[in-house]
Amino acid sequence: MKKITLKLFRYNPEMDKKPYYDTFKLEAEPTDRVLDLMEKVKGYEDGTLSFRRSCAHGVCGSCAMRINGQNMLACKTLVQDLKTNKITVEPILGLPVLKDMIVDMEPFFINYKSVMPYFVNNSPEPSQERLQSIEEQERFDDTAKCILCGACTTSCPSFWSNDEYVGPAAIVNAHRFIFDSRDEGAAERLQILNDQFGVYRCRTIFNCTVACPREIEITKAIGEVKKAIVTGSLD
C-alpha cells in the first residue's frame, strides 16, 4: 500500500466565489486507478465531490480529467504509472466548469456536430450490405477508435485561445467518415473544415496525440484532412 496525497480541484458556482483545492490523504495499491481514489473520497470522505464516470473501463470517455497536468482518463490511469505519491486532479481545460471536475461539454459537441459526424450515402439502398475491402476499412480504422472523451480538444492551445476552432476531436470524427469508401459526404465535410476555424487552426503542437487515451494519431489524421483539401484525393 502507498500513502497518496490527493489534491482535488473544487468549485461549486452556487456556493464558492472562486475555485479552491481540497487535499485528502489516502492509502492505495499501486494498481489502483485514479478513479478508484476519487470514488473512495466520494464514498467515505466527501459525498459532495462531483465527477463524471460511467463504464470505468476506458470505453465511454466520461472521466477525462487533468491528472498531474495532463489530460487522461481517470479510469485508465494507475497510481503506479504516475510515479509520484502526490496526485492533483483538475477538470479538463477550455470548457466552463459546472461543478468540481464536471465541465460543460456543450461547446465541444456543437463543434463535433458541425462536421457532419454521421454516414452520408444517398445512393439507392443495395440488396445486401455495402461491402468494403480490408484496405478500405484500414484507411479510417485509427480514427474510428474515438470515444469522444474530449481529452484531445481540451489539451489543444488553439482551442483554449478560441473555442470557435472545431478542435481535434471533431476533425478526427470527420476523418472517420471522409475516408470511408462507402460515404458520399466527404466534399461537404472538407468544405466545412476548409475554413479559418477548421483544419488551419491546427498548429501541429501534438498535445492532442499525447493526450488521446485511445492512442489515435490525431495530428497525422488532421494532416491527412489538410492534404485531402489541397489535393482533392482521398487515397
Binding site: 466534399a187 472538407l190 476548409n194 477548421g198 488551419y200 482533392g232 484525393s233 482521398l234 487515397d235
Partner: protein
C-alpha cells in the same frame, strides 16, 4: 481499392496562406542558397567574412555592403539580382506578416482589437514591401 476524388472544396484566405507559408519557406531556402552560391562563385570565398556573407544571402544589395571589403560588386549589379532581392523580400515579409496575423487570429478573439490589428498588420506589410522594393530599385 479504387481512387476516390472530391470536388468543390473552395478557396479562402486561410487555405491560400496555409499553402503560401509552406511554399514561401521553400522559396526562401531556394533564394538564399542561390544568393550564397552566387556570392561564393563571385569571390566571396576569399573576399569577405561570414557575417557579410550572411547579409549577401538574404539581401544581396550592393548598397548594404559598400562598407565591407568586397572588391568586386559588378556581378550583383544587374536586374536579375534585383528581381531575386524583391522575391526574397516579398516572400520573407509576407511570410512573417502572415505569422503575425495568425497570432492575432489565435489570441484576440472576436473583438474590435482583432480587426484593428489585422488592419495594422496589412498596412505594415504594404509599407515594408514598398520601402524594401524602393531600396532595391534605387540602389
Amino acid at each position: 481499392m479504387t481512387s476516390r476524388k472530391v470536388a468543390k472544396r473552395g478557396f479562402n484566405l486561410d487555405y491560400i496562406m496555409w499553402l503560401f507559408m509552406r511554399l514561401s519557406a521553400l522559396a526562401l531556402y531556394a533564394v538564399g542558397l542561390t544568393g550564397l552560391t552566387a556570392a561564393l562563385v563571385m569571390g566571396a570565398r576569399t573576399q569577405t567574412d561570414i557575417s557579410t556573407l550572411i547579409r549577401w544571402v538574404f539581401f544581396p544589395n550592393p548598397m548594404h555592403v559598400f562598407s565591407s571589403d568586397i572588391v568586386n560588386l559588378d556581378g550583383f549589379i544587374n536586374s536579375f539580382w534585383q528581381i531575386m532581392q524583391i522575391t526574397a523580400v516579398f516572400f520573407g515579409v509576407t511570410h512573417g506578416m502572415n505569422g503575425l496575423r495568425i497570432v492575432v487570429e489565435d489570441f484576440m478573439g472576436s473583438t474590435i482589437w482583432r480587426t484593428l490589428w489585422r488592419g495594422f498588420i496589412f498596412f505594415l506589410w504594404i509599407f515594408i514591401l514598398l520601402v524594401a522594393i524602393y531600396v532595391v530599385l534605387a540602389s
